[in-house]
């Protein structure tokens, strides 16, 4: 017996919907669980006080500061480098042996596990260059880790700008750099931003790299050469060592909120940018 296509269609659709719902269910469960467990313990002082008694008491201000500084360093290096790379790949060269090699490097780097970036950062920045466990070491290592993400998304964004715009600019006598800066970059900006946001997200959530390269000092960092812990590391230590489940949940809740806010902010910003362009 042949099942009629219409019924097959309905069955298949049911399965697909079920799969989508369960995937979303997991998301909602994880976020909901963490937020529900964490919000009770969040207070203004939790956000603004130093870490006391290994995290059992006080707040998480140093971890917040550490996170921000480390992300800042990582993005400050990876974004310009990554965007420049993507401009080279998308606008300045033809596909060939050179781009193949470069692309191979990017793809491989994208696949390197974070623990390897941790080892690498530890050897190069912490030991050989003598930065010690520090925000600088952590930021540099994170920058290496997020570089491929930024390159890939930016390149895609550049390529999605209609070819016509380049032709028009070139036909009006724009140099290659003018074509890029005046008629490509402005329209690729939302996409590039997405890449940067992804990079920020990955830096915020990364734990292994940070533990290996930035250490886990609880004090407020006074310079970029100080060791610091990020919120993700703080959460890991609190939860793993059973130091304080309340504070662990609270930290995780703040962490997830941060990521949510960054995403929502980025999407709305992108929407605004897009609206101006079409």
């Amino acid at each position: 017996m042949r099942i009629s296509p219409a019924i097959t269609q309905r069955l298949a659709k049911g399965v697909l919907i079920l799969a989508t719902i369960s995937a979303l269910g997991v998301l909602i469960f994880v976020i909901g669980f963490v937020l529900a467990g964490g919000f009770r313990h969040i207070s203004w002082s939790f956000l603004t006080e130093p870490i006391l008694d290994m995290g059992r008491g006080g707040g998480i201000l140093p971890a917040i500061a550490g996170t921000i500084l480390m992300v800042f360093v990582a993005i400050g290096i990876a974004a310009p480098l990554g965007i420049a790379s993507s401009i080279y790949l998308a606008e300045y060269t033809e596909e060939g042996r050179v781009t193949q090699t470069i692309r191979f490097g990017i793809n491989c780097l994208a696949g390197v596990p974070s623990i390897i970036f941790g080892l690498f950062g530890f050897i190069l920045f912490v030991v050989i260059l003598g930065f010690g466990w520090s925000i600088i070491s952590g930021g540099f290592s994170l920058a290496a880790m997020i570089l491929p993400t930024i390159i890939r998304t930016s390149e895609e964004a550049l390529r999605s700008v209609p070819k016509n715009y380049r032709d028009v600019a070139a036909s009006l006598g724009a140099t290659r750099w003018q074509v890029v800066t005046r008629s490509v970059l402005p329209y690729a900006l939302p996409g590039i931003l997405t890449g940067v946001i992804l990079g920020i997200g990955r830096s915020i959530e990364e734990t292994a790299v940070v533990i290996f390269t930035a250490g886990s000092a609880v004090q407020m960092p006074k310079s970029l050469f100080d060791s610091a812990r990020t919120m993700a590391v703080h959460f890991y230590i609190l939860a793993r060592e059973g130091i304080s489940n309340e504070n662990a949940y609270a930290t995780a809740a703040i962490l997830i909120c941060t990521i949510l806010i960054i995403n929502v902010f980025a999407y709305s910003l992108m929407h605004r940018l897009m609206r101006g362009k079409s």
């Binding site: 033809e94 596909e95 032709d167 028009v168 600019a169 070139a170 006598g173 140099t175 079409s278």
Partner: protein, 249 residues
């Protein structure tokens, strides 16, 4: 007086021979129409003349093109060449910015403009493209809100703003209604007083209406070039006659 001279032009993309041994002249202050069915290489000729073809990967160009008796490949500053030879594309491509910014895009690439100079330039360019009266009230609104015909004339105005000597039109009316088409054609006739004009079109009737001379291209080969009257009334090649009477294409 010839403005542009094309000698033995051969172009191939990835092994596809797009133009074979094409040679002809483009006279000064005239409209030359290039006609032929789709994919016969009409637009490719235009891209060779302003060297936009160099932006396409894996393309091989042989032969010489002379602009005012100077080989364009000896011109170091390719941007300068493209300023001297403007192009208007088949579909209007306004950049997603205001009307004014669109017009000033080209001039601003070269130098800064005072507000007065810029205003003057915008007005003159739009007037020459027969668009001024329709948009003078809303120069600062987005160019994307204009109708198709207005967009195309805006693109002409944008090309004019860099003061080119030659203007090439690549099927400029294929998406336009009768009235807009007539306006664009009117603008072209107006422009030939000061410019040399090359018009690529697949509308043979349009070529008959506006062209002083007409070239017929078929599958990469130049079949015939002559005065427009001659091409449409007494062509010397059978293929030309078949095409202009609609036997194929």
């Amino acid at each position: 007086m010839k403005k542009i001279e094309i000698k033995n032009l051969n172009v191939s993309f990835d092994g596809f021979h797009a133009l074979r041994n094409v040679s002809f002249d483009i006279p000064r202050n005239e409209i030359l129409s290039i006609i032929g069915p789709a994919n016969s290489g009409k637009s490719t000729i235009l891209f060779c003349i302003n060297r936009m073809i160099e932006r396409i990967p894996n393309v091989k160009v042989e032969g010489d093109i002379l602009l005012d008796d100077r080989n364009i490949h000896t011109i170091k500053d390719v941007e300068e060449l493209r300023r001297r030879i403007g192009i208007v594309y088949a579909t209007p491509i306004p950049l997603p910015m205001t009307i004014k910014e669109n017009i000033l895009f080209g001039p601003k690439l070269k130098k800064r403009l005072t507000a007065a100079k810029a205003g003057e330039l915008v007005e003159n360019s739009l007037k020459a493209a027969v668009l001024w009266d329709e948009v003078k009230e809303r120069l600062d609104s987005s160019a994307l809100r204009l109708s198709g015909g207005q967009q195309q004339r805006l693109c002409i105005a944008r090309t004019l703003a860099v003061k080119p000597e030659v203007i090439m039109f690549d099927e400029p009316c294929s998406g336009l209604d009768p009235i807009s088409t007539a306006k664009v054609e009117e603008a072209m006739k107006e422009l030939k007083k000061d410019h040399t004009i090359v018009l690529v079109t697949n509308n043979t009737k349009q070529a008959a209406r506006v062209g002083d001379r007409t070239a017929f291209l078929l599958m990469g080969e130049l079949i015939e070039i002559d005065s427009t009257d001659k091409i449409f009334t007494a062509p010397s090649k059978q293929k030309t006659e078949e095409y202009v009477t609609g036997k194929f294409g």
